[in-house]
Amino acid sequence: MTNTERPHPNYVAVWIWLMLLLAVSLVAVYLPFSQGLTVFLILVIALVKSVLVATYFMHLRFERRLILAIAIIPVILFIGMLLTLLPDIVYNPVVSVFYSADTH
């Protein structure tokens, strides 16, 4: 059974946007921001690119709500886990001293 009612957006246009965002993220890294702000910017740009791929290449834009829920809830859990562990791992003055790298 073929599904001829499925809409096909302009995939090449999406690909061009992805390339542009890649270029933007490469530039943004060389700007003199703090470590936390750089990580935040990296994650925001990565999120935008992922949303583009998910919405258009994975057709999430045209799918029903159940599939949207299955796709989005784990992402929310991931962000929640990150934020929840931040005080314990990053802002813990006693423990964080063990996480520095020894370089050879």
């Binding site: 029903r64 159940l66 791992i89 790298a101 370089t103």
Partner: protein, 199 residues
Amino acid sequence: MNRTSITMENHEILQGRTDIGKIGMWWFLASEVMTFGGFLAVYILYRLASRGAWAETASHVSVLIGSINTVVLLTSSLTMIKSAEAVDNENRNSVRNWLGLTVLLGILFLLIKATEYFIEINHGFTPLTNPFWSFYFALTGLHGLHVLVGIIVNLILFVMACRGTLWPNIQQRVEFAGLYWHFVDIVWIFLFPLLYFQY
């Protein structure tokens, strides 16, 4: 019941069957988000906790090679979705060609990654060197294994497309393989800046 309404019912039944497979694939991808998400969250937290101490050792990854790999994988996502579009347009040669391109780009990604590993290990950076490199090899290695699985699936679909045996159930198979492949691409979209950029 007239003929039109029977056809409509059949269409809805088939539509329902398609949706169950799609839900199953998305469910699997959701579990993969938890796998990579957990791994990535720990890496991000430890790197932030190092207060920039990892930046020096992390500077030995090549942003250039990583960027090239990103372009390769993003383009392979485009070729994958073009093959799905060709399925809907019932263009059999197009489906085969786009699938073939996707497989080639996937193999190129892994070859570039292997070269990268070779260079880094030769410079003395192994998974045991320090926590950053443990994370780097583990994260890119796990991702690379996912890419390999995707290549194998796409290769099977490509061979089926060449032989013409793909067509009875084609739409679902290419679509679901595409969902997996796009997900692997999304994981790399996060891995690349988090591992390769200086912060």
